[in-house]
């Protein structure tokens, strides 16, 4: 589903955020991406999302070669992804409900279905009572959960989450991880970026460890990961 081949990303100003990245994430996998602050984790996700383009190498997502993708195909490629952004990216002028519903609307799903699905997903993340609030009226953790609901709502084949529990207490974090695991168990590919190494380890899944812009370890279930002493 997601394939990186000899990928290098240099930001304007010469900052090498990623280099020599070769990896493949297969359909139905559950992958944790770990690494220090500034290691290149978000850049890794931005490449998948075509928010940034690779300076070298090829990124393939859901069959789209992102180096060659046509402008008009980009929205359709993105609809195959459900993304929780590190900075949430909620539309401040829409309610929580509308923010979530929006991800369904863009794919022309009928209103009837939206009306059933959105409350259900908001309930999953524990925000049924905040449906009518606007993002600036929500707490940090609540905003993050709206972002998560938006990523899940249209049942995309791939879910990508950048620190989805950064603003949420450990109890709730575990619940949310269990939710992602459940979604994964019905065939959805899940990629979670987190710095909560403990949490990742509890789930016994594949871990990709990025350091200084390159993959230093790619281990399956429970394998030892370097660089952490906690």
């Amino acid at each position: 589903m997601i394939k990186f081949k000899g990928v290098k990303k240099v930001y304007p100003g010469g900052i090498v955020a990623l280099h020599d990245v070769d990896l493949e994430i297969k359909k139905g996998e559950f992958v944790f991406v770990l690494g220090h602050s500034g290691a290149g984790k978000s850049t890794f996700l931005k490449l998948i999302l075509h928010e940034e383009t690779a300076t070298e190498g090829v990124v393939t997502v859901n069959g789209y070669n992102l180096s060659k993708i046509k402008q008009k195909d980009i929205p359709y490629m993105r609809r195959g992804l459900g993304v929780v952004f590190q900075d949430f990216r909620l539309i401040p002028t829409m309610t929580a409900y509308e923010n979530v519903a929006f991800a369904m609307r863009v794919t022309n799903i009928p209103e009837r279905e939206i009306k059933k699905r959105v409350p259900y997903v908001l309930n999953l993340v524990g925000l049924a009572h905040k449906a009518k609030s606007f993002p600036p009226e929500l707490s940090g953790g609540e905003q993050q959960r709206v972002a998560l609901a938006r990523a899940l709502v249209h049942s995309p084949p791939i879910i990508i989450a950048d620190e989805p529990t950064g603003n949420i207490d450990p109890e709730l974090s575990v619940e949310i991880m269990e939710l992602l695991k459940a979604i994964n168990s019905v065939g959805t590919t899940v990629v979670v970026v987190t710095h909560e190494h403990d949490l990742a380890q509890r789930f016994n899944k594949r871990m990709i460890n990025i350091e200084n812009g390159t993959v230093v370890a790619d281990s399956n279930a429970g394998a030892e990961v370097n660089g952490y002493d906690i």
Partner: protein, 321 residues
């Protein structure tokens, strides 16, 4: 795009306008002002043109009919001889009149007999008209003439030449009734007015384009987020299009109200002081009921097109993510 999502997007455009109150008020304000400016400019130019047409109607060519040449002076003629001269002159006048009617660009034709001409001159001399009294008995002081008005003032020179070429015409004099000063003034006013209209339209376009760019700029993040959720450009653009069109529509109606009110007030003012301002000119501003539908139509059309296309196109650059 399905119909239900089309409806949703239109509703969204309306909601956005209501929601972004500050931005809507600001851009409606600017757009109203600009449309009003263009309106003022068009009314100005409309009235100047109507004034030019009015001048055209007033500007005469005086076509003097050649007198019948005789060896004896009128005073010394016999009654019979006088009748003969009169008959020949009458024939010549008729021939000239036919010639005038066959000439292009002629609007109205008015005959002024020798006696009429004398009377007119005496009137003009006022207190000193007694000087001419002695000549009243004479006949050849002033020739008979036609006062001709033209349809197109621009062609008045050519028309005068055509008229001079008619058999029996002595010579032609143009612009007798309105001073040359006035005739030339209208060219100056017209040039200035067209220049003003052009400048104002240009300025309005700059202002509108920049305002819309600012409005879209203030919402670039929103647009950006929509792209990352997988919205197509058309999907993002439609609400902006609807919003822009609504803003344009409201602005157009507001501008129409302002301009109409102002114009009607001006008309009333000019009528009340009519004797002073327009009375002597005997020129009327274009009547309100002749133009309101053109104004409204033009405003709404330009408002909706500028507002809609303006916002839809200026988001283009933010769509490239």
């Amino acid at each position: 795009m399905t119909f239900s999502s089309f409806r949703y997007l239109c509703k969204q455009g309306f909601k956005n306008m209501v929601g972004n109150r500050l931005m809507s008020v600001a851009s409606i304000g600017v757009l109203t002002a600009c449309i009003a400016i263009i309106g003022v400019a068009s009314l100005l130019s409309l009235n100047v043109n109507s004034f030019v047409t009015f001048l055209g109607g007033k500007s005469e060519i005086v076509v003097y009919v050649k007198d019948i040449e005789t060896d004896i002076a009128w005073q010394d003629m016999t009654e019979e001889e006088r009748t003969g001269v009169d008959t020949r002159l009458a024939e010549r006048v008729m021939a000239v009149e036919n010639g005038i009617n066959a000439t292009p660009n002629i609007n109205t034709v008015k005959y002024v007999s020798k006696q009429d001409a004398l009377n007119e001159q005496m009137e003009q001399m006022g207190d000193y008209s007694y000087l001419l009294e002695d000549f009243a008995a004479q006949r050849d002081i002033y020739p008979a003439s036609f006062r001709v008005t033209v349809k197109d003032l621009e062609l008045i020179g050519q028309t005068a030449e055509d008229l001079t070429a008619i058999d029996g015409v002595d010579f032609c004099v143009t612009s007798q009734s309105l001073s040359n000063v006035l005739l030339n003034l209208r060219l100056g006013v017209n040039v200035a007015s067209i220049g003003l209209v052009a400048v104002l339209v240009l300025v309005s376009l700059v202002v509108i384009a920049n305002t819309i760019r600012l409005t879209v700029f203030a919402r670039r993040k929103e647009i950006n987020i929509m792209k990352f959720v997988g919205a197509t450009n058309a999907f993002i653009r439609l609400p902006f299009l609807v919003e822009g069109m609504l803003v344009g529509l409201i602005s157009a109606v507001l501008a129409f109200g302002i301009i109409s009110g102002g114009y009607v007030a001006l008309l009333n003012y000019l009528t009340s002081e009519g004797a002073n301002v327009m009375g002597v000119l005997s020129f009327q501003l274009v009547a309100y009921n002749k133009i309101w539908y053109m104004l409204l139509g033009g405003f709404v059309l330009s408002g909706v097109v500028v507002g809609g296309l303006g916002s839809a196109t200026s988001i283009r650059k933010h769509l490239k993510v």
